[in-house]
């Protein structure tokens, strides 16, 4: 049995009377790209800090790469890009990576080899001697990403890795994550940019009020949630009522007569077609549409939060 990259059992964090994380129980497999989604204040950053040993859990336990949380030795194999990406700005980019390479316990030969490669990877090869104080937000995020990859980690935590980046920078991060996947590195990705998650992640967890609402492979989320646009010759209230048994409450647009149905499983589509034909309906259009992750996020996490 393989050792999971991350495994937690009922991790909980209270700050005074406020519960930041109520129950974090999850498992991330080695080499998996895992998305961690939730509205603001859901406890995502606190969860990440507990996993990284920055914050002590009030209760519960967990392991990184098989070692208990807070164990410093295992962090030799872990990389982290923090949300704020604020670094010692009086260091040059090369010095910054050198200091952090030393702290990872890398030899001078290892540092000399990997630092130029990483600077090139994040597109800062010509800025090696520039002090971080002169860096833009996007450049800081890039150098922070290079820092997170210094030790060729088996597990990387990325907290909002694209928040300061332009579209080109975001593509760069996507490519880097794809490279990590190819090398078998697990990535724990915390992001608000659901389109990014959609493009990169294998599995996602939805968090709200410090609890894991759901963990599912992205492919499953795509499959299980379908919106069907249906146009028939004679739509009647009776038809709408009958369609309801295929899923959700069918809605009909008053002007165009188009009916929208939400199906929970793709396999319902052929069944629906058969029923319509058997019922003698004249079908002009039946088009299944996948819901975006954003729409699924709102369904799972709850509209009330989005509307606040």
């Amino acid at each position: 049995m393989t050792v999971p990259a991350i495994e937690t059992q009922h991790l909980r964090k209270e700050f005074g009377s406020k519960v930041a994380v109520a129950d974090l129980t999850l498992r991330v497999e080695p080499g998996e790209i895992f998305g961690f989604l939730g509205p603001n204040g859901a406890g995502k950053t606190t969860s990440m800090k507990m996993l990284l040993g920055l914050t002590n859990p009030t209760a519960g336990e967990g392991q990184l790469l098989g070692q208990p949380l807070g164990e410093p030795g295992v962090r030799r194999r872990v990389g982290f890009l923090p949300e704020h990406f604020r670094f010692h700005e009086w260091l040059t980019a090369a010095e910054f990576l050198d200091v952090h390479g030393r702290l990872y316990g890398m030899s001078s030969a290892e540092r000399a080899e990997s630092i130029p490669d990483l600077l090139a990877l994040v597109g800062l090869a010509d800025r090696a001697q520039t002090r971080l104080a002169a860096f833009s937000k996007g450049m800081l995020q890039r150098i922070g990403l290079a820092q997170a990859l210094l030790n060729s980690p088996d597990l990387v935590f990325l907290d909002e890795p694209t928040s300061g980046l332009d579209p080109l920078g975001r593509r760069l991060v996507r490519n880097i994550i794809a490279g990590l996947r190819a090398e078998g590195t697990a990535v724990f990705l915390n992001s608000h940019l659901l389109s990014e998650i959609e493009l990169t992640c294998d599995r996602v967890a939805f968090i709200r009020e410090g609890r894991v609402l759901r963990v599912a492979p992205l492919a499953e989320l795509e499959q299980e949630s379908l919106r069907v646009r249906l146009r028939v010759g004679q739509p009647s209230p009776a038809l709408l009522a009958e369609l309801a048994r295929f899923g959700g409450e069918p809605e009909q647009d008053v002007r165009s007569g188009v009916i929208t149905l939400h199906l929970s499983d793709e396999r319902t589509v052929p069944e629906l077609v058969r029923w319509l034909v058997a019922a003698g309906q004249e079908v002009y259009e039946l088009s299944p549409q996948r819901l975006s992750l954003e729409e699924r996020f709102i369904q799972i996490v709850g509209e009330d939060i989005v509307e606040q």
Partner: protein, 285 residues
């Protein structure tokens, strides 16, 4: 990576920060400016005193020597004061500032223990203070010896006591920095120093007036912040009063702090440091 390598990496980082942020250079430049003015003043005062008073009325009293030594002790008092001020100013934000700016997160998620980061920083500041106070004290002592030919007894043990008082302040500031904001920590450090300073005066007047309560107040304040008591121990060792200089102020010692105070201060600085290591290891970032 061994703990020592980690600590040394952080120590070097701390010293490099002081260089890069020009703190070290400004401090050394100010020290040189101070020493220049001090040297010029010292020379002209001595010329004046020698011209006015000659060698003094009798063999027991030598006004030129008295004033030369007074000025030397006054100069070293500046080193004592600036050393403590530098210890508080440099280090008040080193932990809290890194927590507030989140730069600490990238450090603490490396394969190291938090106490190693705290100890590495402490060592970095201890080295900076050693160099800074050493340059200042050496400048004053050399100027005085060159211009007047006078020297103090027990010079090095006295300077060690002055350095120890800066390390006590460093410990206070480090411990405060593990839990307080930078501003609150700086305010606390200076409040404690002021307490020791005023407590020292209360103790001196109490001794002269033979008021034991006042002396006790001074001793208690010295236990809370031993900086002023350490200064008085240093002055006692230098024996400037043997030149019959009966003056009030920080250079005159009516109530002698116990010799135990030195041992107490060493233990106090160590306990503060250990508490800082412990406190920082336990807090949530």
């Amino acid at each position: 990576m061994s703990a020592l390598q980690t600590i040394w990496t952080i120590t070097r980082l701390t010293i490099r920060e002081a260089q890069r942020r020009r703190i070290l250079w400004v401090a050394l430049f100010a020290a040189i400016a101070f020493l220049t003015i001090y040297g010029v003043g010292y020379r002209f005062i001595l010329i004046e005193v020698r011209a006015e008073m000659g060698q003094g009325p009798g063999p027991g009293f030598n006004p030129a020597q008295t004033i030369a030594i007074f000025l030397m002790v006054a100069g070293l008092y500046v080193v004592h004061f600036l050393g403590i001020a530098m210890a508080a100013l440099l280090s008040a934000g080193t932990l809290s500032g890194e927590v507030e700016s989140h730069t600490i997160e990238t450090l603490l998620t490396k394969p190291l223990r938090r106490w190693q980061v705290v100890l590495g920083k402490w060592l970095g500041f201890a080295i900076i203070l050693f160099v800074y106070m050493g340059v200042m004290a050496a400048g004053i002592v050399l100027i005085a010896r060159f211009l007047s030919g006078d020297r103090l007894d027990n010079l090095v043990p006295g300077l060690a006591l002055i350095y120890l008082s800066a390390l006590v302040m460093l410990g206070i500031s480090f411990l405060g920095g593990t839990r307080l904001s930078t501003l609150a920590n700086g305010a606390m450090a200076f409040a404690l120093y002021s307490l020791a300073f005023i407590g020292g005066w209360v103790e001196q007047f109490g001794a002269m007036l033979r008021n034991n309560t006042a002396v006790d107040v001074g001793i208690i304040s010295s236990l809370i912040m031993p900086a002023d008591a350490l200064w008085k121990r240093a002055v006692l060792g230098w024996k400037p009063t043997s030149t019959d200089m009966e003056m009030l102020g920080p250079f005159f010692v009516a109530s002698q702090p116990s010799p135990l105070m030195t041992g107490y201060a060493v233990a106090y600085a160590l306990v503060l440091l250990v508490l800082a290591l412990w406190s920082f290891s336990r807090r949530d970032m």
